[in-house]
Structure formats: structure tokens, C-alpha cells
């Protein structure tokens, strides 16, 4: 009887010490890539309030400065600059945007609308921007399509 009590006492002490040892360890590190990707947005938000991806924000800025005057602030082809013939492309048209590959869009911006067999009304922007900037614009234009 006495023995079993002793052993039990011992087991309790041992279990406690194990707990203590375990407690001394660090908190579980975020494991696996999924955890990490989550923390990226969550922890930056604490200080920065980062919400919009850089490419979209920069794309929007460039679009509204250089493109919106013809294509409209929302990209629907109705800028302040009305009465253009042919009318500027409507980037909010989902069906139309489906027919347009990223490569073609990129080329049209870079080398001008004439380079993809359209009118010469949209000028070539390739020499005025870094190719990454053009990609930002394409990325942004891709978000404009609505139903």
C-alpha cells in the first residue's frame, strides 16, 4: 500500500516536472507553409493596415493617371474624353476581356493599339514605362471586369 502511494507520489512529481520542462520550451513555431502565409497578412496588418497588393495599387495609380482619361476611371471606356471614334476599349466587359489574352493586352499597351490590328488612337507606352509597370497595369485592368 505504502509502495503504491510512493510510486503515485512519484508519478505526480514526475508528471509535474515534465510539464515544467515542456513549459520551458518555446511556443510552437508556425509549422508548414500554410501557417506562414496566413501570418504574413495578419501580422503586417497590425502596423501597416496593408490590404491591397502592391501591383494592384500601383496599377490603379498608373491607370488613373495615364489611361482613365480615355478608358474611364472604372475602365468602362467612358472617360472624360467622350466622342472618340473608335470608342476606347471597355475593360469591364467580361465577355470581351475573355477574348483578350494577357500577351495581347500587354502588346497593345506596349506597342500601341495599332500593333494588334486596331486603330492608332492608343499610343505606344513601352518606351515610357518599365515592363514591370506595364504588368501592374495589366494586372489592374484584369480586375475591372464585372458581370
Amino acid at each position: 500500500m505504502q509502495k503504491s502511494i510512493k510510486i503515485r507520489k512519484f508519478a505526480v512529481v514526475a508528471a509535474l516536472s515534465l510539464l515544467v520542462i515542456a513549459g520551458c520550451g518555446k511556443k510552437p513555431a508556425p509549422s508548414g507553409k500554410n501557417d506562414l502565409k496566413k501570418t504574413v497578412t495578419a501580422d503586417s496588418a497590425a502596423v501597416t493596415g496593408k490590404k491591397v497588393p502592391f501591383a494592384l495599387k500601383e496599377g490603379k495609380r498608373l491607370f488613373s493617371h495615364y489611361c482613365a482619361v480615355c478608358h474611364g476611371e472604372t475602365g468602362d471606356g467612358s472617360g472624360q474624353y467622350y466622342g472618340l471614334t473608335p470608342a476606347p476599349a471597355n475593360f469591364t466587359d467580361k465577355a470581351f476581356m475573355k477574348t483578350l489574352s494577357n500577351e495581347k493586352l500587354f502588346k497593345a499597351i506596349m506597342e500601341g493599339s495599332a500593333s494588334v490590328g486596331k486603330s492608332n488612337m492608343c499610343p505606344p507606352w513601352g518606351k515610357s514605362f518599365h515592363s514591370e509597370e506595364l504588368e501592374f497595369i495589366v494586372t489592374y485592368i484584369r480586375t475591372l471586369a464585372v458581370n
Binding site: 509502495k3 510512493k6 510510486i7 512519484f10 514526475a14 516536472s17 515534465l18 520542462i21 520550451g25 518555446k26 513555431a29 508556425p30 509549422s31 508548414g32 507553409k33 506562414l36 502565409k37 501570418t39 504574413v40 501580422d43 503586417s44 497590425a46 502596423v47 501597416t48 493596415g49 496593408k50 490590404k51 491591397v52 502592391f54 501591383a55 495599387k57 500601383e58 495609380r61 488613373s64 493617371h65 495615364y66 482619361v69 480615355c70 472624360q80 474624353y81 472618340l84 500601341g112 495599332a114 486603330s119 492608332n120 488612337m121 492608343c122 499610343p123 505606344p124 507606352w125 518606351k127 515610357s128 518599365h130 514591370e132 509597370e133 501592374f136
Partner: protein, 871 residues
């Protein structure tokens, strides 16, 4: 007893076994934790390697398929067969023997040539030595020796040349034998190279070691290990858009100008660069680490660390916009902010305010400026009625002895004058800067007051004096002096005071009441306590400049130490790097997050909320403004910036070089001070970006056109001016925007014999010229002028210029109307502008077409033919 003994020993065994097990488990855990638990980055590096491998593998397969599809393998097999044939023929008896013979000859010759070369060097050395002694001693024997050596040198050179010629001949014969083979080999190499390169890249990727990657920047002693996880951050190609593998966005702006191996990461992004054990620690989102990671727009606050002048800085757009708020609200008036010392007062002169406004209005304004108009910039000081009256008493006592109001609401305005005034109001484009009834105010950065209720604020006599010469009442005001006649001004005053009235105004002192002396004293004390003199010029308080803590220490500034203004009761601090324990959260310690950014934001939101007795007034900022301002303040740090990182502003550079910064001088300075051209135009870096930059106006514009334009300003870019400009509030109602008519050219400039237009033109032509803009363009002699013009016209049509520019009635309205461009611009400017429009205006919408010089000549010649008969 024996039983107990046995029990005892088995007990010991249990203890031993148990602790052994614990020890073993601990050892295993230690090994595991050291290898994996504390090194989460290993997984990322492995994963990145796998992803990169997959990407390269995919490229490789694609390249192989493409190679096969284009028949590359057949061609390669052919080439290889040819090479084998060439090899056999090369190895065959005769050729091989000849080849060996020739190579041997060549080797022999080459050996001779090497010896010869050495002899030549030797002789030259001796010659130089002798020459040295000869020049030193002038002894003839040295001269003799020199001649002898010269002869030797000539002989050796001749021999060498002969040898070289022979070598050349042999080389040619050798290559004649091997050329077929070499050619084939090169061709095979070329065909294989794309694929081989990829293979090599894959092999190299597999060899990349999984290890801590650290950048150490010695002069600021920073060690960043961020790339240990952010392994693809400076890669040429995006491997994955997911963190931590993504490339740095817009690296052509950020990384290309800030080499990560020299700047590291945490210098701009903050965070805990040395930590690698967990994301939270590395990003500094842990207790006792005061520098959490900056990401997104917030990172741009770090630009302020080194860049003295961020205006127009690519990649710093957000923070540039935000710093505008410092100017808008005049933070520098109470706080010391290096770089803003020379900014003018943000509020008007108050010395004679008693002659300007109604007493009742002044009290109402002091109680809450936003009650008068909602966009008022002056903050609320939470004065009581009694306090506000005391302050008004003090202010009025500087120019009089009574509280007094005027009330025009009962008077009948002179209808004819009102009509004239209204016409003048729109002709002078008052609404360009001033808002009335929610209209106008497009040029927001001049912060002109809303005039919707001004008729119940000011009196007619003052308004007359003001319009006649604003500088006389408020030196340094942004209000230009229009060259109105007295008759004009009278009509304007009549129109303004009758049209823009406050229906809720309660003028209590139409019958003036004497001011109490005790109240004046009380008012003065309040003015001193709250530092009204920070923003307003007040008699007797001109020397008092700062009442609030400094926001940016001198540690970060560049050679500004001795230029700091004296400050009253301030502490030297850098708010963006101030240690947390020095921030007094007071009452809010428990209710808001205890970090620096939250502190700053809460301070801006509720300036007196932390504890009693704080004096900062409430600016009633919008939440977006709070975020922007906080971002700027967060960038005011005393971080240790190495000199090599510093990009001083132009003014600082001038100061360091001991030269005067650019300043307008002479008669033109008088015109500028009067007409305030720089409210809208920028000239040599001074002024605003609302209207075209005039820095090179002399090279750009023709004199006749300037005269016409100043006399009768017209719209040049109809659409662009109405576009909501970046950084300005969009959605402002578009008033007709043209340059106001200042009625220049009718009066002589003070102390001179010339009219203001003459002075302006003289200054443009003398000072505002650029050596980059030629006076004349190159002439093409091989083609007649009409041919060139017609070529230019074709180019104009072909490139679609008309989508933005208008000629006659055809074309767009975004760019300048070109119908009269031949009278407006100088050909040299057009020629240069077509080469690189961005040189003159970095954010110009016009793209670069990459015209050749000839094309630019054609276009210039064509455009110069476009002229309207204006007279």
C-alpha cells in the same frame, strides 16, 4: 526488513529508469529542436528550391519540345554526322601530318617571338634608365649609349614584326585546315546552348546550400537575415507570388536604387533582422521589440530617413502626398521639424484684425472655426465663451478700443455695381482658389478660405484695401494683386458683400462697446499659453516661435544643427523612434495598444486625451488624414543614417556648398511678390505644380504669344486641367479653369520704367532658358521644305497624335491645342520635346514614341506651319 530492502532497491531502479528516460527524451528533443524546431526557414528554403526546380524543369521540357518541334534534333544529328566526317578527314594521314607540321612551326615561331618580346622590354628598360641618367647628369656618354640602345630597339622591333607576319600566315593555314570542324562545333554548341544552360541552371539550383543568409552592413552595424526566408526577394524572376518566396515588388525602383547587399532590409522595413526562429520574432511583432515590420505604403515613411527632398520621388508617392498635410495644417508652426523652418506662417497676420472682421464673427470663429466653414484648417482650442471673448478683446485692442460689428443685411446693394462685380468675379477666376457655395476651389493646395459667408465677416473698407493691395495688410499672403481699377474694386466689394452672406450671423456690437482692460490681459495670457503666435503674426510676439515638442531630432538632419530655431519649453525627440517607455499613454494605458503608431494616431485623434493639462488643439482630422500624418511622423526618426545613404535636397546641397539657393531677383521678384505666379507655376524648383512649369519658358515660348496670353489668358489644355490630379481631392466640381486675367501690362513696376509684362518677358528670355533647348533645329539639305512638312503631316496622322491634340476642329482635347502652335512654341523646344517629353515634365501623359532625329525635324517643321492670325 529484507522485504523493505528489496522494496527500496526496486524503488531506486524505478527512479533511475525514469530519469534515464527523461534524459533520453530531452536529448532527443534538444537535437530535434536545434535541427528543425529553431530553424523553420529550412523548410522554406527547401520548398523554394523545389519550386524553382519545378519552374526550371518546366522551362527545360518546354525548350526540349520546342527544339524537337522545330526539327532541331534532325538538324543536330546532321551536324553531328558532318562533324564526325570532318573529324575523320582531319585525322586522315595527309591532313593530320600537315596540321602537326604547321602547329610545330607555329609553336617554334611563337617561342622566338616571346624571346624577342622580352629582349625588346629589356632594351626599352635600359633606354629609359639611360635617359633618366642623361637628363640628370647631361653626360655625353649616356647620349651615345642611348643612341646605341635606340638602334637595338629598332632592330628588335623589325624582327618582331617579321615574326608576327609569319605567325599570321601560319595561323591562317592552320585555321584553313580546322575551320570546317570549328564552324560545325560552334553551330552544335549554339543549338544546344539554350537547353544546356537550363540544365546547368537546374544543376546549380540543386547545389544551393540550405543555410542562414545574412547581410552585414558595417557602418550601421546591422545584420539582416531576412533573405533566409525571403529567399526569392531579389531574384530576377518571380518563382512564387506567395510569401516568403515572392520577389520585391517594383524592384526596378526600390532594389535597383538600394542594393540590398549595401542597404539591407531592416533599414527601410524595420523588424528584427537577426531573428530567424519565427515569423513573429523576425517581423518584430513581439513584446519588447519596438520596431515592428513596416510593409505596404507604410514602408515609404522610411524614404524620409535619407531623402531630403521627396517631391517627385518615384516610389514615394504616398508619403509625398502625406507630407502635404504637414504644410496644410502647419504642424511646423508649433513643432520643430527640420526642413520646414523656412515655411511661412500658416495663418494670416492678426495685428490689425480689428479693422478687418466683425467682433461677433471673431468670437464665433474662436469657439469653433468649422462652424463658419467646414473645411477650415484652424483647429478647435475648446475655449469657453468667456475665454474666446477675452482673446477677441486682446486682438481687437491692438488696433482699436471697442468691440464692433457691421451689418450689411439691412442695406440695399447697388444693383449696377453688383452686376459689374459679378462679371469681374468670374473674369478674375476667383473660384479657382476660393470655394463659394460648394463650387470651385479646384486649386486646393493654396488653401484659400471659403468665401460663402464672407459678407458677414469682413467690412467693406477693409475688403477694398485688401483687394487693392493684399501685401500691404498681410505681407507674404498667397492672394495676388489683380490690377483692378478703384471702380472695379468697388463693384467687386459690393458684389461680394451682398452675395455671400451668413444668414445665421448675429452681429451684437453694431453699437460699439468699450473693451475691458482686464479682459485684454486675460486674452493675452491665453494667446501666449496656446501659442497663437505659432501660426499667426502678432505684435510683440514675433520672436516666440515654438511651443510644442520637436518632432524630428537633429540626429537625422543634414548640417542643420546650428540652424535650429530657438524653442520654448520643448524636448528634443524623434517621434518615430522614441522609446515606448517615453511615450506617456496616461489615462489610455489600458485602453489602446501600447505601440508607437497607436500612440501617434490617438494623439492626432484626441490631442488632449492622454491626460489633463495638454494644450494641443483638435484639428478634427479625418481618419484617412490621421493615417497619413501618422505615417509621416513615424518616419521622423533619429536612426543612425550613414552619410553615404544621404540624398540631401537641393537647398541643403546649396547650403553645404555655401552658395545661395535659387532666388528671384530684380524687378521680376517684385512682379512675383505681387502676382504670386508661383502659387500655380513652378519656376526652377520654386512654386507649385498646378500650372505648367516655367523653368525654361524663355526657350520654350515665343514673345508675341506670351504677350497675347497674359493680356487674354486662354485654355491650352482643356481636359488635363479638369482631370482630378493625383494627390488632389477628386470629384471637385469643375469650374472653368484657365489662368486668371491679372490685367498685366497697364502699370509700371515700382521704381522702373517698364510694365510688368516687359519685366516678365525680359526675365523669361534672360533667365529661364536652357542650354539643352537649341535655338534652331538641324536643317535637312537633301529635301525641300514642303516635302519635309508633308512628311511631318503624314507622321502626325500615322502615329495618332490627333487622339490627344487638336488642330482646327479635329482631334482630342487632352494635350495642348496645336492650331496655333507655330506662334506659341519655339521650334527648338518642339524638337527637344519630341525627343523626351519627360525631361521637362516627369509625369507628362504624352508617351515616348522613339522618333528618329529626322522624324523629329519633319514633325517640328510641320507643327511650325500651324499658325492662327490672332490680329
Amino acid at each position: 526488513m529484507a522485504n523493505e530492502n528489496k522494496n527500496n532497491s526496486s524503488y531506486k531502479v524505478y527512479v533511475f529508469v525514469f530519469f534515464s528516460a527523461v534524459l533520453l527524451a530531452l536529448s532527443l528533443w534538444v537535437v530535434w529542436d536545434d535541427e528543425f524546431g529553431l530553424r523553420p526557414w529550412k523548410k522554406y528554403q527547401e520548398e523554394f528550391k523545389t519550386m524553382k526546380h519545378d519552374q526550371l524543369e518546366k522551362d527545360y521540357r518546354k525548350a526540349v519540345v520546342e527544339f524537337q518541334r522545330s526539327g532541331g534534333h534532325k538538324r543536330l544529328a546532321e551536324l553531328e554526322a558532318q562533324l564526325a566526317k570532318a573529324e575523320t578527314s582531319f585525322q586522315s594521314g595527309g591532313t593530320q601530318e600537315k596540321y602537326k607540321q604547321l602547329t610545330k612551326q607555329f609553336d617554334d615561331l611563337h617561342a622566338q617571338s616571346v624571346i624577342n618580346q622580352k629582349e625588346l622590354q629589356n632594351a626599352r628598360g635600359q633606354f629609359l634608365e639611360t635617359e633618366y641618367y642623361f637628363t640628370k647628369t647631361q653626360k655625353p656618354e649616356y647620349k651615345v649609349k642611348m643612341d646605341e640602345l635606340q638602334r637595338q630597339i629598332d632592330a628588335i622591333t623589325l624582327r618582331g614584326n617579321a615574326l608576327q607576319k609569319k605567325e599570321e600566315v601560319l595561323k591562317n593555314s592552320i585555321s584553313a585546315i580546322t575551320s570546317g570542324k570549328a564552324h560545325l562545333e560552334a553551330e552544335i554548341e549554339r543549338m544546344k546552348s539554350g537547353i544546356e544552360d537550363l540544365k546547368e541552371k537546374i544543376a546549380n539550383n540543386n547545389k544551393v546550400a540550405v543555410e542562414i543568409k545574412q547581410i552585414h552592413i558595417k557602418d550601421i552595424d546591422k545584420a539582416d537575415r531576412c533573405q533566409t526566408c525571403h529567399i526569392g526577394i531579389d531574384g530576377k524572376r518571380q518563382v512564387s507570388v506567395l510569401q516568403p518566396f515572392a520577389r520585391h515588388p517594383a524592384s526596378f525602383v526600390y532594389l535597383d536604387h538600394h542594393d540590398p547587399t549595401k542597404f539591407g532590409c531592416t533599414f527601410c522595413h524595420r523588424g528584427q533582422g537577426r531573428a530567424t526562429t519565427s515569423t513573429e520574432k523576425a517581423h518584430g511583432n513581439v513584446k519588447h521589440w519596438d520596431e515592428p515590420l513596416l510593409a505596404g505604403d507604410m514602408t515609404q515613411t522610411s524614404c524620409l530617413n535619407c531623402h531630403g527632398d521627396i517631391k517627385g520621388l518615384r516610389g514615394a508617392e504616398e508619403i509625398v502626398n502625406s507630407t502635404e498635410l504637414l504644410k496644410k495644417y502647419g504642424c511646423y508652426s508649433c513643432h520643430k521639424i527640420p526642413g520646414y523652418e523656412t515655411m511661412g506662417d500658416v495663418g494670416p497676420v492678426l495685428t490689425e484684425v480689428g479693422t478687418k472682421v466683425n467682433y461677433s464673427w471673431a468670437v464665433k470663429w474662436l469657439l469653433d472655426p468649422k462652424l463658419y466653414f467646414s473645411t477650415a484648417r484652424m483647429p478647435k482650442f475648446f475655449f469657453t465663451q468667456d475665454q474666446a471673448e477675452s482673446i477677441a478683446d486682446y486682438l481687437f485692442s491692438m488696433s482699436g478700443t471697442t468691440r464692433h460689428d457691421v451689418d450689411y443685411s439691412k442695406e440695399t446693394p447697388n444693383a449696377k455695381l453688383v452686376e459689374q462685380g459679378k462679371a469681374l468675379w468670374s473674369q478674375a477666376r476667383c473660384n479657382l482658389c476660393h470655394t463659394t457655395g460648394g463650387r470651385g476651389g479646384n486649386h486646393v493646395k493654396v488653401y484659400a478660405p471659403d468665401l460663402s459667408k464672407v459678407g458677414s465677416k469682413v467690412n467693406k473698407e477693409w475688403l477694398f484695401r485688401w483687394l487693392k493691395n493684399p501685401n500691404a495688410y498681410f505681407p507674404g499672403t498667397k492672394m495676388p494683386r489683380f490690377r483692378f481699377t478703384d471702380e472695379d474694386i468697388k463693384s467687386l466689394v459690393e458684389y461680394i458683400t451682398s452675395e455671400y452672406k451668413d444668414d445665421e450671423a448675429e452681429p451684437k456690437y453694431v453699437q460699439p462697446v468699450e473693451i475691458q482692460v482686464a479682459s485684454i490681459k486675460k486674452g493675452k495670457d491665453l494667446v501666449q499659453k496656446y501659442g497663437c503666435y505659432g501660426c499667426h503674426k502678432l505684435q510683440g510676439m514675433e520672436e516666440m516661435v515654438q511651443i510644442a515638442p520637436s518632432l524630428k531630432s537633429q540626429g537625422v538632419s543634414f548640417l542643420r544643427g546650428d540652424e535650429m530655431r530657438e524653442k520654448i519649453g520643448t524636448e528634443l525627440s524623434s517621434i518615430g523612434s522614441k522609446p515606448l517607455e517615453m511615450l506617456d499613454f496616461g489615462k489610455l494605458k489600458k485602453s489602446i495598444p501600447n505601440d508607437r503608431l497607436s500612440y501617434i494616431k490617438q494623439k492626432l485623434r484626441d490631442p488632449r486625451g492622454y491626460r489633463l493639462g495638454l494644450r494641443m488643439p483638435d484639428f478634427r482630422l479625418a481618419e484617412s488624414e490621421i493615417n497619413e500624418l501618422a505615417a509621416v511622423l513615424y518616419g521622423f526618426t533619429d536612426s543612425n543614417v550613414p552619410v553615404r545613404f544621404m540624398v540631401p535636397s537641393r537647398q541643403e546641397l546649396d547650403r553645404m556648398a555655401g552658395v545661395q539657393s535659387y532666388k528671384f531677383t530684380g524687378d521680376f521678384a517684385k512682379v512675383i511678390a505681387d502676382v504670386k505666379c508661383t502659387n500655380c507655376h513652378s519656376i526652377r524648383g520654386i512654386g507649385a505644380d498646378y500650372a505648367p512649369d516655367l523653368s525654361y519658358a524663355g526657350s520654350k515660348l515665343q514673345e508675341g504669344w506670351i504677350r497675347n496670353f497674359l493680356a487674354n489668358p486662354d485654355v491650352i489644355r482643356p481636359l488635363l486641367q479638369q482631370m482630378p490630379k493625383l494627390g488632389l481631392t477628386s470629384g471637385k466640381p469643375a469650374a472653368k479653369i484657365t489662368m486668371p486675367r491679372f490685367n498685366l501690362g497697364q502699370q509700371k513696376v515700382e521704381d522702373t520704367n517698364r510694365t510688368d509684362v516687359d519685366v516678365v518677358i525680359n526675365f523669361f528670355q534672360q533667365e529661364l532658358v536652357s542650354n539643352d533647348i537649341p535655338k534652331k533645329i538641324p536643317v535637312i539639305t537633301t529635301m525641300t521644305m514642303p516635302e519635309q512638312i508633308s512628311k511631318g503631316k503624314n507622321l502626325y496622322d500615322e502615329k495618332g497624335c490627333k487622339s490627344c491634340h487638336q488642330i482646327g476642329t479635329e482631334g482630342g482635347a487632352l494635350g495642348p491645342n496645336l492650331s496655333n502652335v507655330g506662334n506659341r512654341l519655339n521650334p527648338g523646344f518642339i524638337f527637344k520635346h519630341l525627343e523626351n517629353a519627360r525631361k521637362f515634365k516627369p509625369d507628362i501623359v504624352e508617351p515616348d514614341y522613339g522618333f528618329t532625329e529626322r522624324e523629329r525635324i519633319y514633325l517640328t517643321n510641320f507643327l511650325m506651319t500651324l499658325k492662327l492670325n490672332t490680329k
